[in-house]
Symmetry: D2
Subunit: 367 residues, 4 copies
């Protein structure tokens, strides 16, 4: 076991989740690299100091460059707003330091491309934080599809739907401004990442994106409430996606279904420890979707659990990410999803926005 | 109570269902008009005679005109292939006889328009057999939405998916030929009808329709295996639909979700006696989709049932249709869905096919 | 095809259900015997005449003996209160006429024994109306267990729970008086029948039966609101049952689970077209309960349905009963559940009531 | 924030879970007391040292007394076999040190009573590790019932069922020997604790406990595979419980249903982030169980989560326990479940075992 000093930009929601994950991951997964919470950076020294105490960092700063350049900070986690992603990542890569960056990768497709270039030029470990795809259930789905267990894929449907802005009377906030804070920046990347992970590249798409509630108490809404798209994957499958922050009743509607020539799979993060598998084999009288509870037989199941039924929660997803980031650092091998994977998600989002403007099908590779 | 002589064209699957329904409906719903199974018509006199005996008709014929023109046949049910719909309906309306016609209404949009014209000119009762929408659950959903119980609708998703052709090795048959026998002719009309019934007209759409398995043992496949579309309703809602006969694992995937500003609804015909309702009111800690089992408190629940939980089945849907057709005849008032409603479904199908060819958004009213 | 004249005692809830079933069963199942609704008997000639007209009987009477003895009444359906079951059945058997009797068989265990003796002495077809067990799902469960598909049974849990008297303010009625109208007479027989059908005889039991709401608006409650028992089956399995008319939230809680050494099964009538099967075979990563929708591959699935997903409803259960009763008459072979099966259910109920009084385990065969 | 030195007896399954929890709880809940992993004790110094390194303890020992008496160990977590619970707890209380003890509390009812006496005499914080009851869902259920939201309770059904010994060919192991390792020692305490927590004391019960598979490869089985009981709660409700390690198909069948005069609740740990609530109020047409996903509106929801749908997992339950233990230490107030609560669970288990031997109802307070 070797210690590694971790610096985290941000101490808010995701910053905290990563701090807890880095503090737990060694014990949970018995990793070779053992994180040490070396330094946290926040917008003011007061809040940084508060995070330091609360989460157990050695040091605090309000200067992100100081953190990145600190010799005891050996790897970086970026959990600050998107405009900060590119400069911080570039600075870290320039110093040969691995970077884990929250999604979406860049504030723009150009930022994302630059970040991929910097990451790949440096040869450093680089990962993007699409944490929902890391549940044992979704990792098992990936494997089932990759192994051809449900045959050739003919259909995909995915959604990332929540309802935190479903009430038209909910007031405007920072979330209702800024392209990256709308549904396409906030929720869509998770499900697009899932689609790409499960079926491979999207070739073309047609999309619609809209602001349903254009005025809210406290101001105009300048970003999108919901979007939909139809896609063609390179593998020939057709599919649909839907993203919404006004999906009344949905709390964590990260859900997908994949249909193949030999079976089908369904998943919904609202019941994150289960997946539904249909195999077109055996007696006709016994065909049906089976509800599989994740357990030790599945990839990424938390190793302290003896048997199936010991549920995985949200924080566990972040711990699994931390394990994989440590593994990427240690092995020198790229670990999915890399910055390149993150950039491909940005590309689909950009294509969708363009399609929505022109009301026409577009090729994703044009973006 | 007054007897009414019923003539049914077709003794196959739907012909039988309507015969059973006409024989039961009087007792079940205590209708004023009491059907008498007067005559059945089939493609040969032998099979017609067989149906007569099996289902209890007074007479049998292989000549549809003879049935339509028979003086004891006072109302017509058409359950023969689509090319037969128009001539039979026109002949009946010319004689002032009410017609119940299976979906889809016409073999072409022109046929459908002619049938609507004939029906409306005659002033006769006319209905189309979209039976799935007639479950107590779906009728309650219609009412909830119409009453504004879930607010303004922002989103619709519907599918009619089954898997009877999911196996690529399933042999070619009459079902794999003929435009009206593909998914867009066979399954899509049901869900399009539901969409129109629940949200009102569709203004525009973009669609993709495809034959996934172009060759099957026994021959080429010349109609569609699956389709998808994105739509805009006139009321402003956006939505998606999907239709498939290759949806591995789905047996009766007639399912929809409707999201509004005050709530949401979900339904799946695979559990046809339940609907899921979310209302954004009450304590936050108690919000959730509730599973409502249909019962006496819901429209169209079968009246012999004392309490909730006495399930409605497929045959019951046809009995409910029979009741409503009798009511239309007796009252002289149009009963939904009329031929005009059926024609509007054909229009959306035609628009979808055109959009799929041109890869562009189309206005439904152009078709 | 041969006609058979049916006489039905009772035109209320179950009387109507049987009338509709007898009118439909020939067409639905293409039976050799074709029922003719010959005569209905009700408590007054006025109501009998009303039933005659509503359900399509040839004749009506208020004299049950007249009906039983009428030469055109060739088979009897008893759907009147329990005290009437014995005399009517005995009279019919004395004339060599088959009898279908609603559950519970007799008003007392003595009545039931006498009815079994009369039935068996006559050699006539005799059946009891435990209709819930006749869904395709439950018939498939019976077969799976009988075929050893889930191994040796180790555990059974069953309930028949509804909530029509859950509200303490619901007024007293005929249902709150009379031993046979309480939960043990009304609901328990269905689930006890299921237990016996699925696992075989119950050897011993300990039970508790109680009236929770002893006073209701309009009067004292003199029968039971709920009961519970623990049982030992002759095959060695242990199990529990629960019966309640105050089970708030349950509408048709006819539900059971059966665990064996090779698998397990779950069923709930509130979703009557599905069963859940777990098989302990195959890859550990894919083990799970599968949700099987009933269809043509299952016993008793209604034959007019082409594919799975065409739901069976409550009325269909009664039609299936009618088919089996006709088959018993025609074949001369006993068809399950016979009067003897019905009497065994009475025996378990009697044992449970005795156990509840003495607070001790009892042997069922002592009753 | 004040540091507190934690000593943990045991580094196996639960020892690890508590180590991870103690390392995370400060950051997750921003506790005032901040645990320091001071010392771990295992059966050999080698394994203790291995745990030390893996989980980040300062020191390791194979001498439990050394750990308990160490001045830097300020609070004790006992996660070793049950025979060790009493001496370790007594030693700690004698030194005035708080103790958190895994369930079941003592190896015998006498041990449990002695432990309660020692705990209460010392005035130290004392808690028992019934972790499943600590999910946000179950904590919310407790509150709903306590607040009278579902009225007077009339019915309870609970089970703790798993299938890790369902296969008759699974070999004998330490789990198939020793009273405390059977189902009544291992699984039953969790659900009995839930029953007591939700409904209050059990007055009397009748039970059956059995070893279904008496021989397994590798040896005789000397403890119980499954058990069942019927109970009467002091509040008048009746109920049933079932416990099994041979419940084929069940992975974490910690499930209960509670019925009251105004509503009902259902929960199953296999979907641990949801509970089902039925309220008998509002329009009859909209009554139904609603599926509530736990979120910020519920007690004990993990505070780093912004919104509902961020699932709680097994490890989170242990973190919540750690928080409450720290709170008990800090506040000097007893925090549920105390040793006394744990002892009451032992009492019900002892009563059940006696009842099973005598085949008679017993009063729980006699044990």
């Amino acid at each position: 076991m070797t210690e590694i000093g971790i610096g985290i930009l941000g101490g808010g929601y995701m910053g905290k989740a990563h701090a807890v994950a880095m503090a737990s991951v060694g014990a949970v997964f018995n990793t070779k690299l053992r994180p040490r919470l070396e330094m946290v950076c926040a917008s003011s020294i007061e809040s940084a100091e508060r995070y330091r105490q609360a989460y157990g960092y050695a040091r605090a700063t309000a200067d992100w460059r100081a953190l990145v350049e600190d010799s005891k900070v050996e790897a970086l986690v970026i959990a600050t707003p998107q405009v900060t992603h590119r400069p911080a990542a570039e600075a870290a890569f320039a110093l040969g330091k691995p970077v884990f960056c929250e999604k979406p990768l860049g504030a723009s497709i150009d930022d994302s491309r630059a970040m991929v270039a910097a990451a790949e030029a440096s040869g450093c470990a680089n990962m993007v934080g699409f944490n929902y795809i890391r549940t044992p259930a979704s990792q098992f789905v990936r494997k089932l599809i990759a192994d051809g267990e449900i045959g050739d894929i003919t259909w995909f449907r995915g959604e990332h739907t929540e309802d935190f802005y479903a009430d038209p009377a909910a007031p405007a906030s920072w979330r209702t401004n800024g392209a990256a804070n709308g549904t396409m920046g906030d929720l869509a990347p998770h499900m697009i990442n899932a689609a790409l992970a499960l079926l491979g590249p999207i070739e073309s798409l047609v999309a619609e994106i809209e602001t349903v509630h254009t005025n809210r108490p406290g101001g105009k809404v300048t970003n999108d409430d919901q979007g939909q798209m139809m896609v063609r994957f390179t593998n020939g499958a057709m599919g649909q996606m839907h993203f919404s922050r006004i999906a009344m009743g949905r709390k964590m509607g990260y859900a997908y279904e994949v249909t193949g020539t030999k079976g089908a799979i369904r998943f919904d993060q609202e019941d994150q420890n289960a997946l539904w598998l249909y195999r077109a084999e055996g007696k006709e009288s016994e065909l049906g979707f089976r509800k599989i509870l994740t357990g030790p037989a599945h990839p990424d199941y938390l190793p302290f659990c003896q048997g199936p039924g010991h549920g995985t929660g949200y924080q566990d997803q972040i711990i699994i990410e931390a394990r994989d980031f440590l593994h990427a650092i240690e092995s020198g091998e790229p670990v999915w999803p890399t910055f390149r994977d993150g950039m491909e998600v940005n590309q689909v989002v950009a294509a969708a926005m363009a399609s929505s403007r022109t009301k026409a099908w577009v090729n994703v590779t044009d973006f």
